[in-house]
């Protein structure tokens, strides 16, 4: 549904009810100065809703009111509504509220001829005038039908009454019992035609859920769905979240998941603030632990966390988390953490969600944890659950509340029972990996909108110092975890040692060969050098011999020359 801000001048003036959610569905409240019919079965909340209309009118909008009670006395009414936190005695003293009990007892009344209901008119008129009331409730005017026999007079007088109320300019609520075929048992909708609201208390699967629907609203837009509502110690709250549009602001701020390595897997910075995170996994995979880590980290930043637990009591959560080194008690003591435990089967899904919304409104947390949503799914029909969760997530997003939902899955790991994953921003999957007779946990990021994220499966360890995420072994023999990973790593280590020794052996061999080669080279060189020396020696000797020979030859020739001279001479 789209919100439009165009305000036409002809728009119907409205009287705000102040009832949580109702003004949103009716776009401002009930038709001002006109009558509204609230129809519903026994115990559907008609009286409370109309009383809240008067009380809030008196307290919040400065409009005093008159409550004409046909069924309960003022004391009974005061007692009944006190359980909802309305102190009407004060209001009566301050002349902001009048409760007038109208007793209609058939056995006491004898009809003798023609009459009118002027007595009632005067009573209402007198009450209105005495405090200047702007709001009137007639609860339940149908008692007149039981008390008076002459229906013709009664119907004519009721018609006159509603017209008279309109002339008085008061905003009126008329309650009526639901009829079996018609909207109301006595057809009151015939007279009150401006606005008709239907309350319903339906039981499905032994769980009752209150619902509200605006059947008609003349001259005004209104939400047409059935809206679940809740009656608790603060009055009525209606959950009109389907009317929320997808126009909330998003934050670019990143916040830690509480597990550093997980932050690394999410682009190194963790979750976006205000995003919704789904953690799925089979039993005992550590979903709650991841959620608790996030809660711890959030509290550590000085923010507030509201933890909805549907399986464990607050004490149990605190104890169990202390076994992984998380001290949640300190945050409970400081009021930063609130754990709201309830059995999922206690109420219907809608009631749970309205309760959650109310708790969120009251506690104003920065983060919400729902652990697990799968339990909620069991109490509703899957189509309802999906729309309800969408409403809740939309609501949280509009308030910039980061939400972590855990979900227990059974066989199909990548499917949540209601396909809620599509409305989640980040989806972490914790799965067990069974190898070599043991069960280990693996974690991976299935999706994470708007950020780069790791595509790796990591091993997820729960230690007494918290969660540790380490790399799994991913090698030629597949993905291994736990002791198999350790064994594989050892095996690799051994292989590595072996290989190193081999390399060393080879290099030693090479060394040795080189040394042999060098030795041989040295020997050959030595031999060569020895030979060379010898040869040099020989050359030298030869050269010496040669010079001696030449000297001898010279001497001989000299000697031969002098002989010739002597002969010639």
């Amino acid at each position: 549904m789209q919100h439009t801000t165009i305000k036409s001048t002809e728009e119907l003036p409205k009287a705000p009810t102040g009832i949580r959610g109702l003004d949103e569905i009716t776009f401002g409240g009930l038709p001002k100065g006109r009558s509204t019919l609230i129809a519903g079965g026994a115990g559907s909340g008609k009286t409370l809703m109309s009383m809240e209309f008067l009380v809030r009118g008196a307290i919040e909008f400065g409009e005093s009111g008159v409550f004409m009670a046909f069924e309960e006395t003022s004391d009974e009414l005061a007692k009944n509504v006190a359980s909802l936190g309305f102190e009407i005695e004060e209001l009566i003293k301050e002349k902001k509220l009048i409760i007038d009990f109208v007793r209609v007892e058939r056995s006491e009344i004898e009809e003798t001829g023609e009459y009118d209901l002027e007595g009632l008119f005067i009573r209402i008129g007198y009450a209105i005038d005495s405090i200047g009331a702007k709001r009137v409730v007639l609860d339940t005017i149908e008692s007149l039908f039981a008390g008076l026999k002459n229906q013709a007079i009664l119907r004519a007088e009721l018609r006159r009454l509603f017209r008279w109320l309109k002339d008085k300019g008061v905003t009126a609520i008329i309650t009526a019992e639901r009829g079996s075929n018609e909207l109301t048992r006595y057809g009151l909708e015939e007279y009150v035609s401006d606005c008709v609201i239907l309350l319903d208390n339906r039981v499905t699967g032994q769980i009752s859920t209150r619902r509200l629907r605006i059947v008609k609203y003349r001259g005004s837009r209104h939400g047409t769905n059935e809206y679940p509502f809740l009656i608790d110690e603060h009055g009525i709250s209606i959950m009109p979240i389907t009317s929320l549009a997808l126009d909330y602001k998003v934050s670019n701020e990143r916040i830690s998941s509480g597990i550093p390595r997980l932050d690394m897997m999410l682009g190194g910075k963790g979750f976006y603030r205000g995003s919704s995170i789904l953690v799925t996994g089979s039993a005992g995979t550590g979903k709650s632990t991841i959620a608790a880590h996030f809660a711890d980290a959030t509290c550590r930043r000085g923010e507030r966390v509201l933890y909805f637990a549907f399986e464990e009591s607050p004490d149990q959560i605190v104890r169990n988390m202390s076994s992984v080194g998380l001290n949640l008690q300190q945050w409970l003591d400081k009021g930063r953490l609130k754990i709201h435990s309830a059995r999922a089967s206690l109420y219907g899904l809608e009631t749970h969600l309205v309760t959650m919304q109310r708790q969120i409104d009251d506690f104003k947390p920065n983060a919400v944890i729902v652990d697990p949503i799968s339990n909620l799914i069991n109490v509703g029909e899957s189509s309802d659950v999906r729309s309800m969760l969408t409403r809740l997530i939309d609501y949280l997003k509009s308030k910039q509340i980061t939400a972590v939902f855990t979900n227990l899955t059974h066989e199909r790991l990548e499917a949540t029972e209601t396909e809620v994953s599509s409305v989640m921003d980040t989806w972490l999957l914790v799965r067990d990996i069974e190898i070599a007779g043991e069960r280990n946990r693996g974690i991976y990021v299935l999706k994470s909108r708007g950020m780069p994220h790791s595509n790796q499966i990591r091993e997820f360890l729960l230690t007494n110092k918290g969660v540790d995420i380490i790399d799994v072994y991913a090698g030629p023999s597949g993905v291994l975890t736990g002791s198999a990973r350790a064994a594989q790593e050892e095996k690799e280590q051994a292989e590595k040692t072996l290989r190193r020794e081999e390399i060393e052996r080879f290099s030693r061999d090479l060394d040795r060969r080189r040394k042999i080669m060098e030795a041989q080279v040295a020997a050959i060189t030595a031999e060569y050098e020895a030979k060379a020396e010898e040869i040099k020696q020989l050359i030298l000797q030869s050269k010496e011999r040669e010079s001696i020979l030449s000297q001898n030859r010279a001497r001989m020739s000299k000697a031969r020359g002098s002989q010739e001279k002597t002969i010639k001479g």
Partner: protein, 125 residues
């Protein structure tokens, strides 16, 4: 308690009946202005008082337009309303009081059924 003689019981009963017939009536008639309905009602009630309760009927006619707080204190819904304050039990009549028989029965002036009372008497004996 000593058991009473049946003859005494009958005598007591007769006496009670006689007393009842002599009891004073306090009647209040609430009307809304001088409408034809109001006037008819006033006439009719006055007539009953004169004819059946002569000398022992105290009738007060109140206009609730003038005194609207009576509407609440007397638990009025319709108008005109006649309230029999005394003798007890309190009884209310609404309308223009044109159905005289019904009023007479309601005011215990005329017994509901003569035959019923007779049969009760026989049983008591």
């Amino acid at each position: 308690m000593p058991k009473k003689d049946p003859a005494d019981v009958t005598a007591e009963f007769e006496k009670a009946l006689k007393d009842e017939n002599q009891e004073r009536y306090i009647l209040r008639l609430y009307v809304t202005g001088m409408t034809p309905k109001s006037l008819r009602a006033i006439d009719n009630v006055k007539k009953i008082c004169n004819e059946h309760l002569k000398g022992r009927c105290e009738l007060e006619v109140i206009d609730i337009y003038q005194q609207p707080d009576y509407a609440k204190t007397e638990q009025l819904i319709a108008a005109p309303t006649l309230i029999k304050k005394l003798p007890l039990p309190l009884r209310k009549f609404i309308g223009d009081m044109s159905n005289e028989d019904r009023i007479l029965v309601g005011l215990d002036i005329v017994p509901k059924k003569e035959s019923e009372r007779v049969s009760r008497k026989i049983n008591d004996n």
